[in-house]
Each structure stands twice: as structure tokens, then as C-alpha cells.
Symmetry: C2
Subunit: 154 residues, 2 copies
């Protein structure tokens, strides 16, 4: 998978929070229900975003989660950062010393792809995705999950 499911949860939750008025904490129960995720696991995921400064949280009544960074200044890379495994992107073969004077066989070709990926995560802000959703007509949510033609790479 290109990003882990936990990172996907993080993006979806942040997008959900970005759609709420700022300054109002949202409880994890509301987010979990809206995204169809389990409360405790999502709580753990969101807490990791708190630790990296993407979200703020509070306990008790009036508690909940909210964005700590303005959507326009929050790239997706910063959201998924804490959920990226140790694996590398820059070398297709996983050679840590790849590049510079010791490139692997695929280095120059793969670099273009790696650049595109990094540019996407660095340049795509939460705000820009909000724009995407708003620009589209609303569709029936129950149609979104029907299984159909899946594609693999290759």
C-alpha cells in the first residue's frame, strides 16, 4: 500500500476537522462515526498528530480535537509524516547509499517518480483538498464504497 491505513485515517480525520469551524473542539466519537472508524484506535492515531503539533486536544467536557495549523499551511506530508514506516522512497532497491556517485541501476529513472511523490505530499495542502471537495457536486455517500475494478501497478 502506498500509504498505510493509519495514515489514511489521519488524512481523512484532518480533512474532516478542516471542514469544521475553527476553535471548536470535535470529539473523537463524532469523527469516528463520520469516518466509520473505531473510537479507540482513531483516538490513538489522532494523539500521534497531537504529539507532532498538527492537532490540539483537550480532555473532559468541552474536550476534543482541533487543527493546530491553518489548512493552507498544512501539507499532506506533515499529516502522514508520523505514520510513514522506516522504508525509503529514494531508492527503488532499498539501497541506503544509492545516489550521487553510487547510483543503483534504477536511480535516474526512479528519481523522477520519487520527485513527483515528494512534490505531491509537500505541495498538496489540506486547504487545497477542501477546495477540491467543494468544487464537486455532492453525491450519495453509500455509492462511494462499492467494490469495482481495482488496479495494481505493473
Amino acid at each position: 500500500m502506498w500509504i498505510g491505513t493509519t495514515a489514511q485515517h489521519a488524512i481523512r480525520a484532518v480533512l474532516f476537522l478542516a471542514g469544521k469551524p475553527p476553535g471548536v473542539p470535535i470529539r473523537v466519537d463524532e469523527i469516528a462515526t463520520a469516518l466509520d472508524l473505531r473510537r479507540n484506535y482513531l483516538s490513538k492515531t489522532l494523539h500521534r498528530l497531537v504529539r507532532t503539533g498538527v492537532l490540539r486536544s483537550g480532555r473532559g467536557p468541552r474536550g476534543g480535537f482541533q487543527l493546530a495549523i491553518a489548512p493552507a499551511r498544512l501539507p499532506l506530508g506533515q499529516v502522514i509524516g508520523p505514520f510513514q514506516p522506516a522504508g525509503e522512497l529514494r531508492c527503488l532497491m532499498g539501497r541506503s547509499g544509492c545516489g550521487g556517485s553510487h547510483p543503483c541501476a534504477a536511480h535516474s529513472r526512479w528519481s523522477n517518480v520519487a520527485d513527483a511523490v515528494e512534490a505531491f505530499f509537500a505541495g498538496t495542502t489540506v486547504a487545497s483538498l477542501q477546495g477540491e471537495v467543494a468544487a464537486r457536486p455532492q453525491t450519495a455517500p453509500h455509492l462511494d464504497r462499492k467494490p469495482q475494478g481495482r488496479r495494481k501497478i505493473g
Copy 2:
């Protein structure tokens, strides 16, 4: 990780085999030694490539592995195909119905990246990578693995 370690082994082994004269079976011991991998696990990996028609194998003395497809006609996607997990590339959020009339918020932007990735694996042949290696001066192999600056996405 962008491709699994087993898929990386597969690419490296195929590249190694492509560097050998055609028609001569190479024993898994030789490949495992050259790539610094364990014999049994590599054997299992290579056997999966046999089942998908990328390699041919034979047992006993005179046995071993060899390419079943000419390097120029063998894209990397075909090599890593059997090792790709069920995860999807086309939707960043993992929404199976994403696309067409029901795009997710990131769909149009992520599609460009996904296209670049698919084009890479479909268009990069084993032969084209052989050219890459040959075009570079040989370097001391023991320098290739020294750990240094790792980059994550984001």
C-alpha cells in the same frame, strides 16, 4: 515501503540474471551470495517468478534459474507483479470506488502521481536498467551499503 523487500530481491535477482549469458542456468547459491541474501528465501522468491513465467528453473546438477523473457521485453512491473500486496495505488485514501463521478478529495492531484508510477513500472524494462549500469564506471561494491542520510516522504 514503496515496494516490498521481496519485490526488491526479485528485481535485483532478475537484473543479476540479465547480466549473465543467456541459456546458462545460474544456481540460487550463486545469486544469493552475489546479492547477500539467504538461499532458501531467495529460492522461494525466484520460484514465484518461475510460476509467473518470468524465469525458468531446473533441478539437480545443471539446474538453476534463468530468464524466460528477453530483458528488452521484460518491464519491472512484470517482475514485481507477484509480490504486490492487495493494496491499491489509484486512490490515496484507499476508497475503492474513487474516480469517475465519485472522486475523493485528492483524486485529481494524486492521479498524476499514480500515472507516473504506473508508467515507470510499465515502461522501464530490465534491458533499459542494464544500460544504466553499463553506462556508469564500476565502483567498489563494499561502499554501496554504507548507511547515510535517509529521506522519508513528507
